[in-house]
């Protein structure tokens, strides 16, 4: 049996994970929940209980990964620090992202952005909700929250993608480095301009909060961390918006429930983030030899923490592959956990669950999938729908 499992883990190809990782995750959870997977060059941690355990022991499962490609692209952000150094940077940004700021400042702006985007294509009666709505909505919202008021949303999307491609450039492709370095340089310029104007006219934004903190961040620290925010705060709300819309369009009974009671879009948001976790994997590295899920890990072992698998663990969620907004087990791990628990969780909930989804389903009467092309899904480190062609009655 052991031999068969070794064989299985060594035949896992990244392309198979990209297309549909869930059957592979199920095998791993059952037979080797902490498995060395050569193609990923990491131990993949696939069970819910092991993911939660390691999130609660950051002193052993460190975020400060050595030779991290994220550091290569972004510099040393809060997400690659532990302990007090991490907390200092996180606390500086936090005031802009707490629920009260989200409710008072950001939600009204999110509403305006959503309405403007829909106004732009409403009369057409058809759109690709992924490219025409979910992406620009996430980009414009993020620009406001960060305080990058002069940045074009399209640029933000390009920089985000280029930097994230860099963080995954294990193949050392020079063209990818060139694009990610160019994006990082453009972000530096935009942040410097924002710092200059926010120093004289402070607002509620993340950059302004970093400047005004009791222990203010240096321009260098702000530049790195804003790269993290752009890399990690755009595609995720975009992907939940598109996945949740897709799920409702393909589950008519659940759509009827939420359109009758829009407060339940909150449940749609949470269930969508569980069903297809936008961040399917994040990295950690062990600081000491440790046993996890029956596997002895050496010190310095590189782990892939598989949120996409933990959220489909049958021991934590009944009928885990089903999209079900009425499920009782709801403690998904899509936002991670412990000290690095997603700083944007409340912003994302408001943007997607309170604004984007209710607005789309209220305004676009008769919204349905278009038969022009099939909806495609892809990814495992990041996963979501890749297109969402729809029609409605203007």
């Amino acid at each position: 049996m052991a031999q068969t499992i070794e064989d299985f883990t060594s035949t896992i190809h990244l392309q198979d994970l990209w297309e549909d990782p869930y059957p592979i995750y199920r095998q791993l959870r059952h037979h080797r929940p902490v498995a060395w997977v050569p193609a990923a060059n990491r131990y993949l941690v696939t069970r819910y209980r092991d993911v939660v355990h390691l999130e609660r022991h950051p002193e052993i499962f460190s975020a400060a990964e050595q030779d991290s490609l994220m550091i290569r692209v972004m510099g040393r952000t809060m997400l690659r620090k532990d302990g007090a150094a991490h907390l200092r940077e996180r606390k500086a940004a936090e005031p802009a992202l707490r629920p009260r700021a989200v409710r008072e400042y950001w939600t009204p702006i999110f509403r305006k952005i959503a309405d403007e985007l829909i106004d732009g294509f409403y009369e057409r009666g058809e759109a690709d909700l992924f490219t025409d709505f979910a992406g620009p909505m996430a980009a414009r919202s993020l620009a406001v929250v960060l305080g990058l008021h002069d940045v074009a949303p399209q640029d933000l999307q390009t920089w985000s993608q280029a930097m994230m491609d860099g963080t995954g450039n294990y193949g050392d492709d020079p063209a990818v480095w060139q694009r990610s370095d160019a994006a990082a340089g453009a972000v530096d310029e935009a942040v410097d301009a924002a710092i200059a104007s926010l120093r004289s006219a402070p607002d509620e934004s993340v950059i302004s909060a970093m400047l005004r903190a009791d222990d203010p961040l240096t321009p260098e620290e702000i530049r790195s961390n804003i790269k993290l925010f752009i890399g990690g705060g755009l595609n995720e709300p975009r992907d939940v918006t598109a996945v949740a819309s897709y799920a409702l369009l393909t589950h008519p009974e659940q759509r009827t429930l939420v359109t009758a009671d829009p407060a339940r879009f909150k449940d749609v948001f949470e269930e969508s983030a569980r069903w297809i976790a936008p961040i399917g994997m994040y990295p950690r590295q062990t600081t000491a030899e440790v046993e996890l899920g029956g596997t002895l890990l050496p010190a310095g072992a590189r782990l892939g923490v598989m949120l996409g698998s933990a959220n489909r663990d049958e021991t934590a969620f009944a009928d885990p592959d089903a999209f079900d907004i009425n499920r009782r087990d709801r403690a998904h791990v899509a936002f991670g956990g412990g000290p690095h628990f997603c700083l944007g969780s409340w912003t994302a909930r408001a943007q997607v669950g309170q604004v984007s989804l209710p607005t789309l389903f209220r305004r676009l009467r008769g919204l349905r999938l278009s038969d022009s092309e099939p909806v495609r899904l892809g990814g495992w480190v990041f996963r979501g729908v890749l297109n969402l062609p729809v029609r409605w009655e203007p």
Partner: protein, 107 residues
């Protein structure tokens, strides 16, 4: 060592000895008490460590702080006068015997 009683929605109870200086959340998580999720690990950012504290225990607790107050508006189960974040309740000798009720769900 001060004792804390965790009362589950079905009425069953867990009793823990909690060292002073440890939060009601940390003790629950260390012992695997179901019903406290505590995603953010105690930074008053997730609202998944919600508990209810009834009088007279409620009066012996320090006042609700600003961060705690806004987070208590985001809990999965309704906020009540006795609602607290268990990551903000740190055990002292005075709190020996503290009883907290766990909500039906944290998310």
């Amino acid at each position: 060592m001060p004792k804390v009683v965790y009362v589950h929605p079905d009425g069953s109870q867990d009793r823990l000895d909690v060292p002073e200086g440890t939060s009601v959340m940390q003790a629950a998580v260390a012992q695997g008490i179901v019903g406290i999720v505590a995603e953010c690990g105690g930074s008053a950012m997730c609202a998944t460590c919600h508990v209810y504290v009834d009088p007279p225990d409620a009066e012996s607790l320090p006042a609700v702080g600003a961060d705690e107050d806004e987070m208590l508006d985001c809990t999965a189960c309704p906020r009540e006068p006795g609602s607290r974040l268990s990551c903000r309740i740190v055990l002292t000798a005075d709190l020996d015997g503290l009883t907290v009720r766990l909500p039906e769900k944290q998310r």
